[in-house]
Symmetry: C2
Subunit: 360 residues, 2 copies
């Protein structure tokens, strides 16, 4: 993963290109991939959602675009000079209000500044979290991994082992950008619920399976997806994802694996090799889990996923078909019917061994 | 704060009383304060919401209550034997599913098991978090406080300083029940938003003000309220609460100070001495903050608070009246108009000095 200096340099180069254009007497412009629906492509080779070849141009020449162009440069300069270079962070909301300082830049609605941040992501091919514009969501990590912080400056160089905090460590800017120093882990297990994550910590799953545990807290925040990808790429660890058996849980896994349409412009948010280990629709009957009927909203969601190219083949298609047939769903907690540790002893360990052998 | 052994003992005594009743030949019954609306009282002396003197009885004699009575004993036994004594935790959802094991106990809907957990809280006068039935919400803490974990067993006796994690440490069961070993802190600052919390960490507010920082993540989860109260009572630290200037933010502060109607049966969730340091409605004009008009929902909320006895006097009343008059609201991020650190330099520090002098 590139560090803060490299991010700063990418931002600097955006400005540099503008300066060069002005010096050579042309109206400055910036080209970037189009984020229109028709240019969002599911690439079955790599297994991720990405942007196609269509490109658009933002130019200072067009009167209607001139202000937006200036706003984008202002955001890029702010991200570089005030955030990345100073080791500071802010939220999308902060950024919006900060623009009130300058009448020439001031955004009318937060939608406008949010949109520009997305364009900046597209230009830099980096999530906004990497230039320190942060979300509010919470997700946590636990396991034998020693990291070394690089930010904020007060903590740069400090090392900590991620088993030190039994409540799990928040996955924020500092962990997502830390260096990985040492680990005994042999896999990553991401689970969508804090209660199950906590159980895995309490029952020592991290020791028994030599696993780094991640609580995604529902749909995984982007920092968490960045970190999962890094754990896979930099440490070579296989990634297993455990969710509720419903169309929503399944999609939590799918987004970690393939990325989302909203973030098709940022490659580093997907982990194509990550494996969804259930709870599959077909497990509901197999394990005789307490289940609930799919609601109208669930069924509608199911139909949407049936039309999504990410769900056209393999286990994804198969399990959607099972949901359609059985018309019920089950939660991770449903294993508690068999005792609090049943999800570990009766399910998790066996399922990981099973998928390791390629049995889906 | 009482430890796990004492919680276990309280649970054991519930069972013991039942045994004694049976042995002396009477139908077993349990008495507890009524949680009806008319028995929820705001006590202006202490400044908290609590239950009045009306009591109800659950009895095994009444045929309609017999099953509920058995279910309550089952939940109490489960909490003691499977959770507290074994150093395990579970969620409300887990508990519901776990009952599926036993046809005599099995709950039809989670509402039923949730209600029994609340009754058990009422009997024990302890939040369910203390008998290890946990919520999913996330909130974090940062500051110079060395704690010693008591749970889970794998971590009991380990010490850690809460400045070790710049993303903030999750406030979960382990931190909420840890022993406080050492601190240089002179105050606690609770803020409702992660982005502002992060800024306070980055800008070293914890050093400048010798403060323990808490991100409540919106309405403070109960673990967070438990911890805030402990920091105040056990360490004698003043507590300051910083929120958005709107009826919702104000109520986040009010609940930390006075507790909530839903939790009127648990005294250890309120910190009557905690101080709301804004953003007050009157600060919006004073600091010329960017503001937004109150929506219909905001106005409706305002009217509800106007009728709430917790808002009948002092600063609470005054600021509600100001909101009614100015009809606008402002967020913490609004200070970013003056630069990212303005909320610290222009507001936080001055406001704390002001309220320390009793100037409201």
């Amino acid at each position: 993963m590139i560090g803060a200096e490299a991010v700063s340099e990418r931002l600097r180069r955006v400005g540099l290109r503008i300066c060069e254009q002005i010096e050579s007497g042309v109206f400055p412009r910036i080209e970037m991939p189009a984020r229109t629906v028709s240019n969002i492509i599911y690439d079955p080779e790599v297994g991720i959602v990405r942007l196609g070849d269509r490109r658009i141009t933002r130019s200072a020449k067009n009167v209607r675009q001139a202000k937006v162009f200036a706003q984008m440069l202002w955001v890029a300069a702010f991200a570089k000079n005030e955030l990345v270079d100073k080791g500071r962070s802010c939220s999308l909301r902060d950024l919006f209000y900060h623009s009130f300082n300058d009448p020439a830049i001031k955004f009318k609605e937060q939608d406008e500044s949010d949109r520009i941040v997305v364009e900046l992501e597209t230009i830099l091919k980096l999530p906004r979290e990497r230039f320190n514009i942060l979300p509010e969501e919470k997700s946590s990590i636990f396991g034998d991994l020693t990291i070394e912080y690089t930010t904020p400056k007060s903590h740069a160089g400090r090392r900590v082992n991620l088993t030190s905090d039994p409540d799990g460590k928040n996955i924020g800017l500092s962990i997502a950008t830390a260096k990985f120093i040492e680990t005994s882990a042999e896999m990553v297990i991401a689970v969508e619920k804090g209660a199950i994550f906590r159980r895995f910590v309490e029952e020592g799953v991290y020791k028994r399976l030599k696993a780094i545990l991640i609580d995604t807290g529902g749909q995984a925040p982007r920092f968490t997806r960045i970190l999962i990808r890094r754990l896979h790429e930099e440490l070579g660890l296989p990634v297993y994802i455990l969710t509720d058996a419903d169309p929503w849980g399944m999609h939590i896994a799918r987004v970690i694996v393939s990325g989302s349409a909203q973030a098709a412009h940022i490659p580093e948010l997907a982990t194509p090799d990550a494996v969804w280990i259930g709870i599959w629709a077909s497990d509901i009957k197999k394990y005789r889990l307490p289940s609930l009927p799919l609601t109208q909203v669930d069924k509608h969601r199911l139909e949407t996923l049936m039309r999504d190219p990410r769900y056209s083949t393999g286990i994804w298609r198969r399990e959607l078909e099972v949901f359609k047939k059985i018309k019920v769903k089950a939660e991770l907690e449903a294993f508690s019917k068999y005792g609090l540790t049943a999800i570990i002893d009766k399910y998790l360990i066996k399922k990981i061994r099973q998928v390791e052998k390629g049995l889906f």
